[in-house]
Symmetry: C2
Subunit: 301 residues, 2 copies
């Protein structure tokens, strides 16, 4: 089944203790779609500026990624400059230039309306809701959000959450959104806002899935070296949603495997700067690492 993603495409300037990269392609829709394309066909809705050229477009080529919805606007592409220090758990934003992203009004090409699975990347919740309303009922819709919207647009965010099936956020955001420190109670509160399934990303501590009364935990893959955490969350979401779209099924067993595939893909993403590792990961490497996750978490009762 196919997957629709709405999000950002950006140029990133990144510095980590292991090096730096200037003007490399990034953004939530980019990480998400490259990752998800290993599992299912992806339709992208995003906006780029005139500086996003042939070289950058090659990222999407040769993969089952439809870029009809990648609007080209006058001006420059969204730019982000950030730095990671020490344990690299947190990005320090040094500069943000919204550029063409400032007036982004997502337009869904008619052919995209048949996508059964939808991921609303981390954009203004008003835009997320606007997209949601254009989609036929019955689509599985997941969304992401961030501190900025939780603090600044909570009412709008709650309207969006009331219309989605899955929310994918990080642990700090889950605490902020629910107003509670305790993860289990935070999850119940957030589920009461709308999404029946909640995925909480915990960085180097893995991720967990809350659904009805069930909870599932997966660790993060213990890499010897993380070079660049940029895009790890969107990559996780791409692996998760990609596997759901591939399976076309929302059973508990599929959701659990999807969460592990999300973790697998995120573990590749952070091995190198930007998208480089993701662009050349092989399907057999994905399967091998999936089985390594199983080996790292299995015990006999």
């Amino acid at each position: 089944m196919s997957l629709l993603v709405v999000g950002s495409v950006a140029f990133d300037n990144i510095r980590t203790p292991y090096g730096e990269a200037e003007s490399i392609a990034g953004g939530s829709a980019t990480y998400f779609s490259v990752t998800a394309s290993y599992f299912a066909p992806v339709n992208v809705v995003a906006v780029v500026g005139e500086d996003f050229g042939e070289k950058q477009m090659q990222i999407f080529q040769g993969r089952p990624i439809d870029t009809q919805g990648l609007e080209r606007a006058k001006g420059q592409t969204f730019r982000w400059r950030g730095e990671y220090k020490g344990d690299m758990n947190e990005a320090h934003t040094l500069e943000t230039q919204l550029n063409v992203f400032q007036s982004f009004a997502p337009k869904i090409p008619p052919s995209y309306l048949s996508s059964e699975f939808v991921f609303l990347g981390n954009i203004d919740p008003t835009l997320q809701l606007h997209v949601r309303k254009q989609l036929p009922k019955g689509r599985l819709v997941a969304c992401d959000t961030m501190n900025y919207w939780i603090q600044g647009k909570l009412d709008d965010l709650k309207k969006t959450l009331a219309t989605v099936d899955v929310l994918v956020i990080n642990e700090g955001e889950a605490r902020m959104l629910s107003g509670t420190e305790n993860l289990r109670r935070a999850a119940s509160t957030i589920q009461s806002f709308g999404p029946s399934t909640l995925i909480v990303k915990r960085g180097e501590h893995g991720a967990c899935l809350f659904r009805d009364k069930s909870i599932f935990f997966a660790p993060a893959f213990p890499l010897e070296q993380v070079h660049d955490p940029t895009g790890a969350g969107d990559t996780f979401a791409g692996g998760f949603m990609g596997y759901l779209a591939k399976s076309g099924d929302l059973s508990e067993a599929v959701l659990r495997r999807a969460l592990v595939y999300g973790s697998v893909m995120a573990s590749f993403a952070v091995e190198e700067f930007g998208l480089s590792r993701l662009l050349r990961v092989q399907p057999e490497e994905i399967e091998t690492r999936f089985r390594e996750f199983k080996a790292m978490t299995h015990f006999d009762v």
Copy 2:
């Protein structure tokens, strides 16, 4: 098989966002032995003062805990006063009175020398080594330590580590001891100091086991409310070592189940202040929670 623990017995004054408790029995050897006694017979070596009376001794009674090695010295028992705030991941020590613990020189009763499994609780590494040397070769010896010894007595600690099979420490301590942020590399460094097996406790993020090339992760049990984290680490160690002693086996499968039993027991410990929950947990509750851990981590390949 039987289990020997050397550690502290204390009176604790604890304040958490959920209440406070004055002069309740605590200490590493106390939490450890009560917990381990659900799995195997325990021999305790520790020191108490004249204020540790009949009421406190009842903690050990009616359980397979031998208190011959619980020395009674002139003076007051070790006292600790601490507080937990916010997310309760960290204890803030408000006061420590070492009292009789200051001159603790562990004496191992001859009948204890047949214990096949040994846990050296968090005491001066010189004392840990002193105890280690009194024990016959071939015993499985695990130990704990803390920041204070890593910073102040690293050379002595390394001498102790060279003689033990298992080290059980928390994540921050693992980073400090190894001098590296990356958990996987930290584990390799620490294993090169001596212990072939390393257990890293990650608080609310669970625990992991490093052994040869294998890694195993278990989450923490997601409680709706943590009332008092005091003793959780020693309780974890008690469940882990207790299950090993019960199994009498060090296969990978047993070590993994032992780690989960450690997490199970720690999850009970923190449900109430001090030892109260641990003192009345039922074997069937332990088994039920163990199966809940399996349900929370299982996925099909």
